[in-house]
Amino acid sequence: MPASLCVVSDSAPTAAPVRHSVNEVDCRVKAHEWVNGQYRLLTLSAPCSVLDCQPGQFFHLLCPQTDRFHPYLRRPMSIYSCNREKGELTFLYKVAGEGTGALAGLETGDVLNIVGPLGQGFEIRPEWRRPLLIARGVGLATLAPLAQECARLRLPLTAICSARAPDLLMSTNLFRSFGAEVITVTDTEGNSDTESLTPLIEGLIRSRGIDAFFTCGSARLMRMLQEIGARHGIGGQVALEQHMACGIGMCQACVRPFRREDGAVNLRVCREGPVFDLQEVL
């Protein structure tokens, strides 16, 4: 899992729209393990053509047809790690419904068709020197490669990992391996609500000099960070989700409203996102 993430240098994928940067490829399953009772880690052997990816980008997976599950549309999944040397791509996902139920049936050696890499990943602006990652549930999967990127950029990192219960906290060791200071909070311990977190985070701003927020996995946490950020003049980014059909920007299924200069605009989560400016989210 401590994979070295291959980050695309400067040019964002939209900069040069006519290169064939999105690929549909069949990948073999290398490993597929339960991380806990709800989450699975899927490791694929992937060709180089799809391994040029940024933290925060995602792939669109063609979940298999099984006896019980008949997914039709693809399912979006964040890159959990991507390793060019090993030709490996991993996803950390929660078994939820039809699609992920079908996915969970994949065995080592099976083939999975994927499309990607898709979307805009996280951007660590040069002025952001002291990032705080706040992830909940499956948001941990999306933020993991960002933690690695922070490590690569030698940015001191603090991460708050939230989950319903301690056994559902994942990736904390992975975050630590990237040098992050990890704070865990859970519903069962009663310290994951915004009332408890707000003072905790404001304390971190004072003590650690936090100057950027990155979050994923909870609307509640995102709203809280918008407020704290507005109060303290701290910017940041959030990775969002939305129901998708095409995943590559054609269908307009995945829009959400955002605050821009000239009022609210609908942007495509699959294309302009999934990572957006924290304060622009409406």
Partner: protein, 311 residues
């Protein structure tokens, strides 16, 4: 090598495979070279800006999907300045899909978009007609004829009328479009449908009802294609549920001169180039030298009841 070209009125397409409106955009150029396609068909635009429908805008049902995207549009100006130039780099003809609220608006809009670089206009008449209590134009021959007739006198570009499967008057609407001067028909748009999450009791689309597309739609739109191809003499372009080369063949055999691929591109963005290759291979395996040889070749079984002959 079999000849894949097909003629839609004055336009010659290098092969009969093109995208369906709303399931295709510039972004697909990141997946494959768009010049392999028979034509490019853009998402329906309106003259002014529009927001589209509430989310969720899509859901899946039994091997098919529903959408209630609506017609979010950045407006004609933006489209002419950004989208049309993008496609200028390609040889494939550019077909632009437009919609409006009345026959006169359709005509004015057609005139506005009749610019160099646009090869044909697809007329999305599945939108509400403000002059007919909001009933879609495509539901009735009268309003369909009106739209096409007024557009016909406003532009010289070929007009493709995109029909709706929601009408009970498919043939009458098709003939009205032809009589009014349409150059081709596209059969068809999505079928109005609905899905409910039985666990929560919630409608699965923000807009409650939406359009059914994908494989489940095929038997319906294939039937429309067959009905229209027999009822009019202008070319018919089949559309609905196409994802395999067998689907393409069925539409051609039913009488379509070309086909549009929609939802299948969402499931596999490389569907269209794959179908082009497979179609060529199929023609060769059948010893056919051209697509024309297949078009309308459907064999209507006679009533004789034959016993299966085992061997």
């Amino acid at each position: 090598m079999a000849d894949l070209t097909t003629r839609i009125g004055a336009l010659v397409l290098k092969n009969p495979i093109m995208p369906a409106s709303g399931t295709f955009s510039e972004e697909l150029a990141e997946v494959f070279d768009l010049d392999c396609l028979g034509a490019h068909v853009t998402k329906t635009i309106t003259q002014g800006k529009r927001a589209g429908n509430p989310v969720p805008r899509v859901c899946e049902v039994n091997g098919a999907m529903l959408n209630s995207i609506g017609i979010p549009s950045k407006g004609a100006e933006w489209f002419l300045q950004n989208t049309v130039p993008f496609y200028a780099d390609y040889d494939a003809p550019l077909v632009i899909s437009i919609s409006a609220n009345s026959a006169d608006e359709f005509a004015r809009f057609a005139e506005e978009v009749s610019v160099p670089g646009v090869a044909a206009i697809e007329v999305n008449i599945s939108c509400p007609n403000v002059e007919d209590h909001g009933k879609a134009f495509a539901m009735r021959p009268g309003p369909t004829g009106d739209v096409i007739r007024k557009m016909r006198s406003a532009t010289d570009l070929p007009l493709w009328a995109k029909l709706s499967p929601n009408t009970g008057e498919v043939v009458e609407v098709a003939q009205a479009a032809e009589a009014a001067g349409a150059d081709a028909l596209v059969t068809a748009n999505t079928m109005l449908a609905m899905a409910i999450d039985s666990a929560t009791g919630r409608a699965r689309l923000g807009n409650v009802m939406g359009g059914l597309s994908g494989p489940a739609l095929k038997p319906i739109t294939l039937r429309m294609t067959y009905q229209c191809a027999r009822a009019v003499s202008i070319p018919v372009i089949g559309c609905g549920g196409i994802s395999t080369v067998d689907d393409v063949l069925e539409y051609l055999i039913a009488g379509a001169r070309a086909v549009q691929v929609g939802t299948a591109t969402f499931i596999s963005p490389t569907t269209m180039p794959r179908l082009i290759g497979e179609l060529e291979q199929e023609l060769e395996e059948r010893g056919l030298t051209s697509v024309d040889a297949l078009i309308g070749s459907v064999d209507i079984a006679d009533e004789a009841i034959t016993l299966a002959e085992y061997a």
